[in-house]
């Protein structure tokens, strides 16, 4: 038996099929993964993300600490509530984790890290923090629910505490508002508008039920994965890990090279390959032949193996199979993927495949 979130019982009551995931027992779906996917693209769905970890970082020098720790630069966060997506690299330039960090005030930043990496992340943070006098506090007492979809904000807003809903209603994308132990970010992992709501565990079941009563579709890890894949968002452990440079995982845009004197951890290791033309490319694939693309399938141009799929699956919005893949530089337009010993044709595209309900690639 894995760890259970505070929502475990209500998942079962709502018909969830539970599967093990990163040490947790989580809902895969509540009947139909496809229906849940479409609900998020067209209306509103919700995900239990309590297994992810909120980490509060506090101290006078917390901003300096994060400028040292993260490949993206928190100097870009000037207004309280603003969020930033970043990789946390090891000294060899591999990705320890990808995360979102929120600027709360000059002595408090909030980080949200992946479930499966929580333990090593907290260990790494705790090792780096003392030099900056920063306190690292994983908030196990908080629950987190993501409400996503074009109607998500409208349906969630009336259910927030009264003293938070007005500021939540005014949030711009990638900003957060907070009141007491409640926290609402206009962020997500689906390519749709929505909120990620952090709240006291004691309030989580009632909030989940109220969202369901408001017509928000409970959605599982299955739909979460197809939605993020369509949105071209990386999955830690599949698309990158400690052995992969962010430069070969489509994450160049998250690295803040300027100012040049900022020596973040891992900078030296990745900077030597900054403009290296032989860096492998991170691309999208749309399968034109029949079948389904899956993780680790090999990619060929002619008889030459040129790379591998890092995340593959079926896109309910495109009604075709799609994938994210790491390939040699210079692979353009067309390739073949080996599926059960046969070569099947695929088209090379630039992710995302879908954003805000709209297909963004040419089929």
């Amino acid at each position: 038996m894995g760890n259970r979130t505070i929502l475990f019982d209500i998942h079962n009551a709502m018909g969830a099929r539970i599967v093990p995931f990163g040490g947790w027992d989580m809902p895969l779906h509540y009947g139909s993964q496809l229906e849940e996917h479409h609900a998020v693209r067209r209306d509103a769905g919700m995900f239990d993300v309590c297994h992810m970890t909120v980490v509060d970082l506090t101290g006078e020098r917390v901003r300096d600490f994060l400028r040292h720790l993260l490949a993206n630069d928190v100097a870009r966060l000037k207004e309280p509530g603003k969020a930033l997506y970043s990789c946390m690299l090891n000294p060899e330039g591999g990705v320890i984790d990808d995360l979102i960090v929120y600027f709360m005030n000059e002595t408090w930043f909030r980080m949200v890290v992946n479930a499966g990496t929580t333990e090593k992340d907290v260990a790494w943070l705790s090792k780096q923090a003392p030099a900056f006098g920063v306190d690292v506090k994983p908030r196990k007492d908080l629950a987190m629910i993501a409400v996503q979809g074009p109607n998500a904000r409208m349906k969630a807003l009336p259910l927030l505490p009264e003293n938070l809903s007005a500021s939540a209603a005014d949030l711009k994308p990638f900003y957060a508002a907070t009141k007491g132990d409640w926290f609402v970010g206009r962020t997500g992992y689906t390519g749709e508008d929505g909120f990620e709501v952090v709240l006291p565990e004691s309030k989580a079941v009632a909030f989940w039920q109220a969202l369901a009563d408001a017509g928000v579709q409970p959605s599982g890890l299955g739909a979460r994965d197809t939605l993020r894949l369509e949105a071209g968002m990386n999955l830690y452990g599949s698309d990158m890990d400690e052995s992969i440079s962010p430069l070969e995982a489509g994450l160049n845009w998250t690295i803040a090279w300027e100012p040049a004197e900022r020596q973040f951890i891992g900078r030296e290791a990745i900077e030597v390959n900054r403009e290296n033309p032989s860096n492998r490319c991170f691309v999208g694939l749309v399968l034109t032949g029949r079948g389904v693309l899956r993780d680790h399938q090999k990619i060929f141009v002619g008889d030459r193996e040129v790379g591998e799929i890092t995340s593959g699956g079926f896109s309910p919005t495109l009604e075709k199979s799609i994938a994210l893949a790491r390939v040699e530089a210079g692979v353009m337009e067309h390739c073949d993927v080996e599926i059960r010993g046969k070569r099947v044709a695929a088209k090379v595209v630039a992710p995302p495949f879908v954003r805000n309900g709209k297909i963004r690639v040419e089929l």
């Binding site: 895969l28 993964q33 496809l34 299955g222 389904v292 899956r294 079926f314 199979s321 059960r340």
Partner: protein, 131 residues
């Protein structure tokens, strides 16, 4: 507990077999199997004329998240496949024991049917997996 019709035979790998009583059988995957897989999005079937061997993989069903092999419960020659599944794989989810059939085999060894499970024995296997 999912539906397990009494007039079918079953394999432990979750295929069902319907004896057409003309030396042929129709084969599919069970209601329980499709529930485990979730929404199917692709089915790869053998070709008519292929020879299949009992216990060997001969088809693939893929759901949104995973691919799963289908094993032929009997040996023989494939004489028909359910071509409608190419455009509508979800039929297997909707009607696993009926319109969601996969392929039909002319038996090379009809005695193999005796080795298959009846509904009661298969039900026990499903229940033991669920607990």
């Amino acid at each position: 507990m999912s539906n397990v019709p009494n007039d079918l035979k079953y394999a432990t790998s979750h295929e069902w077999v319907r004896d057409e009583e003309d030396g042929t059988v129709v084969i599919g995957i069970t209601e329980h199997a499709q529930e485990l897989l979730g929404d199917l999005v692709f089915v790869e079937l053998p070709e008519v004329g292929d020879t299949v061997d009992a216990g060997n993989e001969c088809a693939v069903v893929e759901s949104v998240k995973a691919a799963s092999d289908v094993y032929s419960p009997v040996s023989g020659e494939v004489i028909a496949v359910n071509e409608a599944l190419a455009d509508a794989p979800e039929t297997v989810n909707q009607d696993a024991f009926g319109d969601g059939w996969l392929f039909q085999v002319k038996l090379s060894d009809p005695a193999q049917l005796e080795d298959l499970l009846d509904a009661e024995a298969y039900t026990e296997i499903v229940e033991s997996e669920e607990h």
